[in-house]
């Protein structure tokens, strides 16, 4: 097992014993003359050593009790195929976009009021009066578009590189679920500013759902929370946008990442499969 896992990085290895430290004066040291010149480098060195030792102790304490380091080592220092390029960062970029959306969304929720009579005013308040409100709202607004673009680029990369093939079919399925959830986030978030564009886009979007045979009328009523657009509709979209969909996306990202760590990533298709040993490169 230990032979298969890559070696610990230097800062995680147990520190060698330091005999020269014993019998030395403490950090206030340098008793004879020139305290200004002699003590400074020593104190710096000691502080540095102390910090290294201290952090190693904390890491050791946590590791002993959680067993996290084999997991983290496997997850963070896993082998990736030679030829991995910037194309392989699109998934992480999408996840970063999601995290950025989550963080800005949390702060927007501090000022937003999901009420049909006050939603528009609260968004106007965020945009025009709250300090940096325009920036945070702008990040959330444009970030949603960026996330959609990134998720499609990531999907295109996976498709073109054939990375969805055995044994990564479930990866692909989870990815498609994430795509649908992300689009649902975009749809539910579009209503929240509650201006004319939001309202009519949502009306049209719900009615597109209503056009499905058999289930359409029920889906539309569920999305609206009634037969017509009403007071419950906005609260419903707010709840979906704030709680249900982000929770599901977080869980699905967890499953997606677990499989990334478990199965590794695919080599680029132009790398020859019969020279497997050459294809491995450790980073």
């Amino acid at each position: 097992m230990s032979r298969l896992t890559p070696p610990l990085p230097k800062f995680l290895r147990p520190a060698p014993s330091r005999p020269e430290r014993d019998g030395r004066p403490g950090r206030t040291g340098a008793p004879n003359g020139k305290p200004g010149e002699g003590a400074k480098p020593k104190r710096g060195k000691q502080l540095r050593e102390g910090a290294t030792e201290g952090s190693a102790k904390v890491v050791g304490y946590l590791d002993e009790r959680t067993g996290a380091s084999p997991f983290l080592r496997g997850f963070l220092y896993r082998k990736v195929p030679k030829g991995s390029s910037w194309f392989y960062t699109l998934g992480s970029a999408t996840m970063f976009a999601f995290i950025s959306q989550a963080v800005t969304g949390i702060f927007l929720a501090m000022y937003y009021v999901p009420d049909v009579n006050r939603a528009y005013d609260s968004v106007a308040h965020i945009t025009h009066e709250v300090f940096l409100g325009e920036l945070v709202r702008g990040m959330h607004r444009w970030g949603s578009t960026v996330m959609i673009i990134l998720i499609f680029l990531h999907m295109a990369r996976t498709f073109v590189f054939g990375a969805y093939k055995y044994p990564r079919e479930i990866q692909w399925v989870i990815g498609v679920v994430l795509l649908v959830l992300t689009l649902a986030m975009g749809f539910s978030g579009y209503l929240l500013p509650f201006d004319q564009r939001s309202l009519w886009a949502t009306v049209v979007g719900v009615n597109i759902n209503a056009s499905a045979p058999i289930m359409g009328p029920f889906i539309a009523d569920f999305l609206r929370g009634g037969a017509e657009f009403n007071t419950a509709t906005l609260a419903r979209y707010y709840s979906l946008h704030m709680l249900l969909l982000p929770g599901l996306i977080g869980a699905m990202i967890g499953a997606h990442l677990y499989l990334v760590a478990k199965l590794g990533i695919t080599a680029p298709p132009w790398l020859r499969a019969d020279k497997k040993e050459l294809a491995k490169e450790e980073i």
Binding site: W200, V204, N207, I214, P217, E228
Partner: protein, 229 residues
Amino acid sequence: MAENRSPKNSAGKSPYTADRGMAGAFEGETVTRRRFMTTGALAAGGIASAAFALPALGFALGPLFEDGTNEAWQDVGAEDEFDPSSYVQRVINIVPDAGEAGKTTIYVRKFDDKQDMPSPSDEEQKLDPLPYVAMSTRCAHLGCPVRFYQAPKRFVCPCHGGVYNFQGIVDGGPPVRPLDRFYTRVRNGRVEVGERFSVNSELRRFKPRDPSQHLDGFWQYLYPARPST
């Protein structure tokens, strides 16, 4: 205990716990206590989960079975404000308490025997036609608000180019059925507007449907009416 008095299962073991030499087994007992406890714990967990999941689901799905629209008759003006030749714009409240989003524009005019075709629903039930035509502005394509233009006597939708004639019947574009209407009546010389209804291309009345849902031919069976409780 070990005497062979019962049929054996596929593993060659007797279904009776007593036959398998289990301590404290009862006569005729076939379910081991471990299995009984496992099943019981799973059932209790299932009941506990259902106890909060089902009400929560019903809470979210409840509006599917409620109407929620304004059922009160709303005054839109005196009788002499409307005539058969043109529509008059009025604003009514279709969802109470929803602020601006609960209001909608409607177009009202007097019903006219000469130019209006009566609804087959009225003929079958031997009723007089509704005294006024109250046209909904909700486009039957995807629900954008249509506008009435007096010169061509057409309703036009800005979103995807749906066009309806003076009767609200589709003249062109993507809408699948005529514009919805509202019930009308006259009380004390005032015109009042009631609930929404949808119509098919013969102006037969149906319970209100969402835009994009067909009401003609075979297609009407694919879009069931909202269940009423």
